[in-house]
Symmetry: C2
Subunit: 113 residues, 2 copies
Amino acid sequence: MRIGDLVIATGASARSLRYYEQQGLLASERSPGGQRVYPESAAERVALIRSLLAAGLSSSTIQDVLPCITEKAIRTPWLAERLRSELNRVEDQISSLHRTRDILADLVEHYAV
Amino acid sequence: MRIGDLVIATGASARSLRYYEQQGLLASERSPGGQRVYPESAAERVALIRSLLAAGLSSSTIQDVLPCITEKAIRTPWLAERLRSELNRVEDQISSLHRTRDILADLVEHYAV
DNA sequence: TTAAAACCTGACATTGACGTCAGGGGCAAG
DNA sequence: CTTGCCCCTGACGTCAATGTCAGGTTTTAA
């Protein structure tokens, strides 16, 4: 598939897809004319990238972490620690969001017009 | 309390506190010399502001929503709708984060070095 | 074969919540 | 009263992901 197809498949903009590639998060083959060609699996990978970005991981962190999600790659102790700390961050973020949601939900329920 | 005290009480930087004021999120009295003076309740308000910011609400949205959390203020249907849509956003964000957490947790558990 | 549609690179612009610096006052202790 | 610390405003810098534009090339369909 070409980049336009991947745009449709993922909802990400072409700009974003090129950016992910530039950051080393997403690989592509090239057509003889130099246009990007993606395998089908790219859509899933983009979804994964976006969910990690949405969870607040930086692209350089994702770059470290991705190969060990998709393949069973180089697991150094350093990377394991990195993973644990990101997991902790995300869990803190979740519980903080829960509290905020409760505030909003309370407002919506009890003070409805 | 002066701004430095509020910095200590909340963990927010002085820059942030002034920014919140500029955005209409945080009020202050002024000393005769023009320095900001806050009531004790300011610390709690700052915590609320920060949790809403962390949940992805923009400061202009927070500006709309805050008066109706702290006082029982002007509840228009428009504002009620706004609240509901922010609540939905936060809930979507939470479930998305849950999935991402599971991915990371799975990695940490099953592929430990 | 040719026009339209899709794609390329490169570069500058944007957004939001701050950091940071400069230059200048306020305020309590000694 | 002066020293040292805290505070003020204003302005420019930052960062990350993405928008956007220009000028040119490739691919596709007629």
